[in-house]
């Protein structure tokens, strides 16, 4: 691919997914798209790229955007943050919201994040209200994997302690499947955070981790703005370890990666 082709292709990916490709872009494109080229029975990655540039709104283009957006991930990624979520944040929310607790995993990838939440809920030794756990991602392939809840040995060993694996997953031949109890806790919906969408309301906890950090500043701000609109009063926002909170949000004491509206911290400390 010529540098001009790469520029054009990267601009296309950015427009469709918000993802800004940097560094070894050629290598990144090649490694992400090689499996797709094989699956589509095309000769090479260049052939895939050529066709996407000709038909930027076709089915192949959508598959390419999905393949480029897949992130490395793990269960309970950022252990300390999930520890605080389980020990402090969820119990406090469960106490405050006695009717219904609404949680949204935005950019859930292949399901490791919503299942980590579902495990914390399943392990709760405190009273839980009805919990709605929504998982969204732009990739239908990732959502299908999440919905199926089937992971390889390698995947379950990324972040999942062995006792949690045995408690919440069933071993099936050479793979591990999330238990029916875990799977029924999660609702999966395809949503591209970059596309216009009706912002839902009233979420008590929104996780959007390691999603917008690869975005350009404008779409990043737009997505974070929508997420904060979706957050209920007193709601918590959980971001990736290296991500800065949106304006008006401050860290929740004792809970890394978790943020709350600045105006609500006084109430928080008093409580």
């Amino acid at each position: 691919m010529s540098p001009q082709d790469i520029d054009y292709f990267c601009a296309l990916i950015q427009a469709r997914s918000g993802l800004v490709l940097t560094g070894e872009r050629n290598f990144f494109i090649e490694t992400r798209l090689a499996p797709l080229a094989r699956r589509e029975r095309m000769g090479s990655v260049s052939e895939v790229v050529d066709q996407v540039m000709e038909q930027p709104t076709g089915a192949l283009a959508r598959a390419v955007v999905e393949a480029m957006s897949i992130q490395d991930t793990a269960f309970f990624r950022d252990r300390a943050a999930f520890g605080a979520l389980g020990a402090l944040v969820l119990p406090a929310l469960a106490t405050a919201k006695t009717d219904r607790l609404r949680i949204w995993s935005a950019g859930c990838g292949q399901g490791q994040e919503p299942y980590s939440l579902a495990m914390l809920l399943a392990e709760a030794d405190y009273a839980l209200p009805t919990v709605e756990l929504l998982a969204t991602d732009l990739s239908t392939a990732a959502l299908e994997k999440g919905r199926a809840g089937i992971y390889t040995h390698f995947e379950v060993q990324r972040g999942l302690p062995i006792r949690r694996l045995l408690r919440h997953f069933e071993e099936q031949d050479d793979v591990w499947r999330a238990s029916p109890e875990l799977r029924q806790r999660v609702r999966w919906i395809r949503l591209n955070l970059i596309d216009p969408f009706t912002v839902p309301e009233g979420y008590d906890l929104i996780l959007c981790r390691n999603v917008v950090n690869a975005f350009a500043p404008a779409p990043r701000a737009q997505v974070l703005n929508r997420l904060t609109q979706a957050l209920a009063p007193g709601g918590r926002l959980m971001l990736g370890a290296d991500e800065a909170p949106p304006e008006g949000f401050v860290p929740l004491p004792g809970a890394p990666c978790i943020y709350v509206r600045h105006a609500e911290t006084a109430v928080e400390i008093a409580a």
């Binding site: 252990r79 390698f154 302690p161 062995i162 045995l166």
Partner: protein, 121 residues
């Protein structure tokens, strides 16, 4: 520096494990089977044991049961590392006193995560 006893009859696995664990600042001792490992532990208890299951002479499960009955034998954190991937077998290892369990094949990232879970990092 913490010590880790690497017990595996495969020289290749011992070498891979040594490389990863040395990068995490462990001092490595090697043993080729359970009997060999028990001799090492009777000399000085390591902080951690990375333990294969199927080995000649004495297998990993037998070693673990005996280790836990030794004076000071409840101290080392034991991380099983085996191609034995059946849930029932893993449960058996945990019941015998294993702290964590790595299913082979593994990589450095998995090793780090499991040693963290076992409170070793």
């Amino acid at each position: 520096m913490k010590t880790c006893l690497v017990v595996d009859d495969s020289r290749v696995v011992r070498k891979v494990a040594r490389r990863i664990l040395e990068s995490l600042d462990f001092d490595i001792i090697e043993a080729v089977d359970g009997a060999d490992a028990l001799t090492v532990c009777r000399g000085a208890m390591p902080d951690a044991v990375l333990l294969d299951w199927h080995m000649p002479m004495m297998d990993g499960l037998e070693f673990l049961k005996r280790l836990r009955r030794e004076p000071g034998g409840s101290e080392p954190a034991v991380v099983f590392c085996s191609a034995e991937n059946k849930a029932d077998r893993i449960r058996e290892a945990l019941d015998a006193g294993a702290n964590e369990y790595i299913m082979k094949p593994f990589d450095g990232e998995i090793m780090i995560a499991k040693f963290s879970e076992a409170g070793l990092l």
